[in-house]
Structure formats: C-alpha cells, structure tokens
Symmetry: C2
Subunit: 407 residues, 2 copies
C-alpha cells in the first residue's frame, strides 16, 4: 500500500476555526432567535471595487473572441500585472525589483505553504508567537516542526510577543534557519518600526537566516515610520522573501490572487555548502506544479493599480480602519486593554480578570452573542488574548461595541 506522509498525522485534529464553528453552531441551536455578530475570521465583507469588476468583465469578453482569447499564460504571471506591481508597490519606495523576481499566484496562503517545497527538511524554524497557524502547520507537514509537546512544537522556536514586551519580538535565543515575520501582524495587529525591522534584517544577514516576510496587510499601514516592504531595509534582498496579497487590500478573498518576491540575490545552501538561487528553484516549482493564475483574475488585480482602483481600495481600507477605530475607542472606554487596530485590521484584546482565551470567547458568545477568535488558537503566547477583526459591516461593528459596553 502507498505510504503516507506521516508528518500529516502529527497535526492537531481540530482546527481553530472549525472548533469555533462548532461552538457557534451549538449556541445557535440553543438560541435560534439571537443575532450573532461574527468578528472572528479575517474575511472581508465589502464589495469588490468597480474598477476591478469592469476589468474582469472586459477580460471575460476577450476570452469570447478567438483573436483575444488567452490560453496558458506565463507561469510567473502576465507582464502587465508584474509591471503594475513593480511600478506601484516598489518603485515609489525606491525599491528596485526585476520582473523575474515577481511571482503571481492564487494567494499568499498558498505561497507561504508552497515555498516550503524548495527548502530542505532539516531547516530549523522560528516564528513570532502568537502566529498565523499556516506557517506552523505547513512546516509540520514537511517534517520540520518536530513533535507537539506541552502546547508547542519542539522543532520550532517560538518568539513571544505579548503586552509585556510591547509585542516587539526579541532576537531568537537559538539558531534558526528560517524565520517567519508577518507585519502588520496577524493576529495581534501590531507593527514593527523601520528601526525594529532593520534589527531583524541585520540579524538575518549576520546569521544567514532566511526571512519569510508576510506583508499581506501592508495596505492598512497609516504611520510613516512603519515599513510597507522589508526591502525598504538595506540588505533585505539578500535574506528575505516577501509575500503580498490582494485579498485584504482589494477584497480578493473569494477571487484569489497574491504575489511574492524572490530576489535573485537570495540564496539557499546545499548540505555541502554550495549556494543555490532560491529564485531559480521557486521558478522551477512554478513551472512544474502550477500553471499560472487566471487571466481574468490578473486583469482584475491590474485594475487595483488604476487611478479608479486606487481610490476605491483606499475607500475600502478607510472603511475597515474606521471600524478598527470604533472598536478600539469603544473597547478602551469599556476599560479593556487593547492592542493593534491602528495600522492593521485586527484588534488584539487582553481578556479581563485573568480569564483564559476560551473562557472569554465563551463569555462573549453567551453574553454578547459576539464571535471573536481565542488568542491561544494562534499559539501559547496568545493565551489571555482574543482577536477581533475590523472586516465586519459598519452597523454590526457599532452594535458589537455597544454589546461589549454592557457586558
């Protein structure tokens, strides 16, 4: 019989969001008339921008004419989108990216998982804690996480980020080969200043660490001192892969498009110490296990960079960040300790009175009919916190704050 990848069997059986669903379903069954407000999963709620829809309509029409029909596209993506990305997301910040360093995909989640294909199984892994579960789970699947003991994987270095250290991760205490950084951070909604990010790039340069930099939420940055790209830091192209997404920027969670940058200066190593270009390996993975992102989707993503698209995206970000401000203000007025929500669409809430994450989750669900995400679901340092998202509808967000205030 075919042998399975036994690393999969180490994965925890229950997935965070599945557990939450079960509890919410049970509550609904018991209280069918109650209106539940869901601020748990980080999914957007507002419509896809008109500029994007117009571009997609046009692309669909093009597919109906044999002269403009497009079959297989370039594996790494169409030049029209790659050029728009470079010209808008990087060039204005003084970052020089070459077209063959950009890889268009069907989303940052897929990318952060698939990138593991080109890396050896023996690499040691570091994550900031709490953490987006995909970084952990995909490394478990690849056999890089070791075993799960006392709430953590013994092959993974957890770098704690809590109110105690102002959510600024300390440099790792043991050697890691690959380090995941997500800023603005999911789930805490916190950011790193330029100086703090520089500390990490310098550390990676000195210690030969590969940084996986997830910038899926960069569009939410408001402060001038918070870098949008890790490549704003000198030397980062030698140490970092950056992941970007149109999901939270332009409402693409159901449309599926993201991209990543793998600089040509970036190398990995063989066991014998020979340098190998990660750009070349990743390119090979793209051509062998992928067939490009939908032409129609790529035309939609291109429109995000049009003047109309930019204006609409800004309005979307403003909408969600107003939600975040409403929640922050309301929660602070209620006496909660609140983090994030200023440069990110996530609010990270300290549970009151020393409650555990799950206790507070249950209290919110039962008493306020409000669904958040228990912080401990994101890792051990998330215990005692709860995540709320700003991606809800405005009226529901206002009502959620109202409900919290009378808790």
């Amino acid at each position: 019989m075919a042998l399975v990848n036994e690393h999969f069997l180490k994965l925890q059986n229950n997935y965070l969001f599945a557990d939450i669903s079960k509890k919410v379903d049970a509550f609904k069954a018991a209280h069918p008339r109650d209106k539940i407000i869901r601020l748990g999963i980080g999914d957007v709620t507002q419509p896809l921008p008109e500029a994007v829809r117009t571009a997609m309509h046009r692309a669909v029409d093009e597919m109906g004419d044999r002269d403009t029909f497009r079959g297989y596209g370039p594996y790494q993506g169409y030049p029209f989108l790659i050029d728009a990305i470079i010209g808008n997301d990087f060039a204005p910040r003084g970052i020089a990216i070459e077209p063959d360093e950009v890889f268009i995909s069907d989303g940052a989640k897929c990318d952060t998982g698939n990138i593991g294909d080109i890396l050896g199984c023996a690499n040691s892994i570091g994550v900031t804690d709490p953490v987006y579960p995909v970084y952990i789970d995909t490394n478990v699947m690849a056999g890089r996480a070791g075993n799960f003991e006392a709430g953590r994987w013994n092959g993974i270095e957890y770098i704690s980020c809590t109110a105690e250290n102002n959510f600024i991760p300390a440099l790792p205490s043991r050697k890691v080969d690959i380090l995941y950084l997500c800023y603005p951070n999911n789930p805490t909604g916190t950011t790193l200043s330029r100086d703090e990010l520089k500390k990490w790039v310098d550390y990676a340069l000195e210690n030969d660490v590969l940084i996986m930099y997830d910038a899926a939420y960069e569009a939410y940055i408001q402060d001038a001192d918070v870098p949008h790209s890790i490549y704003e830091i000198e030397g980062a192209k030698k140490v970092a892969i950056e992941f970007r997404s149109f999901s939270k920027t332009a409402g693409f969670t159901g449309v599926r498009c993201g991209y990543n940058i793998v600089p040509k200066e970036l190398n990995g190593s063989t066991l014998e110490g020979c340098s190998v270009s990660l750009n070349t390996l990743w390119g090979r993975r793209f051509t062998t296990k992928f067939n490009g992102t939908s032409y129609i989707t790529q035309r939609g993503a291109e429109a995000v960079y049009s003047p109309e698209g930019k204006q609409e995206v800004k309005a979307l970000i403003d909408y969600y960040m107003t939600n975040a401000a409403i929640m922050r203000r309301g929660l602070i007025e209620c006496g909660f300790d609140v983090y994030g929500g200023e440069n990110a669409p996530y609010i990270w809430l300290k549970t009151p009175g020393g409650m555990s994450s799950w206790e507070f989750f249950e209290k919110l669900l039962n008493e306020a009919k409000l669904v958040g995400t228990p912080g401990v679901g994101f890792g051990p340092s998330g215990e005692g916190y709860l995540r709320l998202t700003a991606f809800g509808d405005r009226n529901e967000t206002l009502e959620a704050v109202e409900r919290l205030s009378v808790l």
Copy 2:
C-alpha cells in the same frame, strides 16, 4: 543559510517546451517572413463558451453587491459545482461519488503535483512511457525518483508503450506503490478499453497499488468501449484517485479550474502498517495550503454543465476532433504511421526512415515550418515519435497537412 531541497537540483536543466521555443525562435530570426504553424503545445485556441462567460459576468456582478459578495469559499469548492460534477460526470455512469470526495482546484497539473504532499518519500513510482513530464518531475522534487542515469530515473519504473505493443502497457515487472495512468493518453492519444483498464484495477487491488488516474482528456472519447472514469471499473474506489480538468474540455487553460476525486474507501499506510484515509489527508492539505478556487471561476465551471454549456462544449470537442481526423487522414495518405487522434486530441506520429524525434522535429520546422513536439521529450519510449495536437485553428490544421504532404 537555509538548506534547499536538493532533489530540485537533480532536475534536468532544460525543459522540453523551453528547448522547442529556443529552436523555433532561432528559426524565426533566420526566416522572419515564414509563417510557422504551431502544433506543439497542447493549448486550446477556440473561445470560452458563451454559457461560461455569461455565468462569469453574473458572478462578477454578484461580487459588486454586498448582499451577494462572496469572500472565502468552502475549501473543497462550492456545493453548486460539486453537485453539478457528481450529477453529470459520474451519476449517469452509475458511479456514486459523495460531495466530500470531490475537491475543486485551479487545475489538474497543480493537483497531480500537489497530491504528492500527502504521500511518503519512500514510495516506488511507476509511469507509462512516454509520459506527461509533470508526473516525473514532481516525484523528482519529492525525492522519489532516484537518480537520472542513461536517459531515465532509476527510482522510476518505466512501462513502455509503443507501436510494438499497440500502446497497451504491460503490468510492471517490479513492485510499484504508486502508478500514474493517463487515459486518453497524453502524449500518444491512445486509450485503454474497459477490459484493459480492469486489468490494471485488478492488479492494483491485488498488489496494493495506488493509481493516479489522469482523465483530463475524457471529453474526447468517442468509442463506447473506452471508460471515461476509472470508477466505471469495479473496485477502483479502493485504489484510485482521479484527476479531471476543464482546460481541454471547455477551454479553461487560461481560466484555471480542475477537480479530483479522492474516494473515502481509499487508504494509504504508515510504515507500521496502519491504514490512513487519503481523503482525510488530502482534505487537510486543502485547508492548510489552499484557499479555494475563485468563486467566479467556479460559476463558470458550473455553466459547463448547463444545457447551453454542454452544447457549446460538444461543439468545441467536435471542432478539435475534426482537426484530429483531418490530420490522421492526411498523414496516413502521406504514408506516415499514425496513432491516437480517435479518442484524444493528440496525434502520435512515427518518424519516417528511422529518424530520431529531434531530427524529425528539425526537418518539420525547416522544411514545413511546422512545430511538433519530439516524442523523446516525453520519455525514452517516445524516441522515434513526434506529437501533434488537434488544438489548432482549422485553417492552420489544413495547411499543416498540406505542407506535410509535399515534404
């Protein structure tokens, strides 16, 4: 420095289609006025069906209204598409498939590569030869192929399919754990009858072999005796995963949608001999490394099963199969030995006079300005053959035959 997956370094540097491109570009540079006809790459040329476009327009509009906007969808795909697949591709053939056995993806190429994630590295692999290169390359990347020696991977069992055995593969001479079968076959365009496929299912049942059944071209089947799905054979749900695609059926090569069936009866094994459900593992891979296929794309795929969609798809298949018939007849009249093209959009041509695949490729390019694919690019048993596709434009196909006739 992060260690790379060194199996990637074993891959041959030159990719078949890249080599062909280089040669064609060189010819064009030397003969800028010559009109080249490309019947090499298996990409479709005819427009996307109107039913599909109409459905996609509607879905784009839905995304513009907050009441009908869709964010993250179900990981395995929307029920509307899963139900359409089961109700049209399987139920009418007496095959019972449950909704959670269907996984909607962004294409069969991705699926045949990604499925390897859930399987152990120590499995032995069998392929029919010649073979779609993705099966080989993805196993090389995963470390299951061994080393490349004398034109073949020593960890892979090549099961020869040539005119000598009428393109009917013999049962493997050494034990394989995983066997790739693609029928109708790419590249030879040949098929297996129901009895022949039964022989393979029975062999897999007796020997605990996992069959990866790639049925991407099933829509081209004309003969009643050729099975469309491996699950038409009794017992196949215990041994086979089936891959399907909308690419060649409905012109989705640039739109990206496929699906696969992982039956719940299908198990893999741990090293210690415990059975593990592959459906569960694959589901876990989907939730962890994928975020669903575009809603808009899935609505387009659903329309393939509407009455109008079915009619349009039939017209597309008829168009390409008429091309195949034109090529077959023309080539036979010219005295070539021709295979395939009767239940598949590929013609497999024996090179005349004992020429090698690449010699014949060069002759066709230089003397007929015609691009085919050298058979040896698909594996050692492809030497002495050349593949032509029926996916071209009608007039170009007619002209190609004309050019071949005066060669």
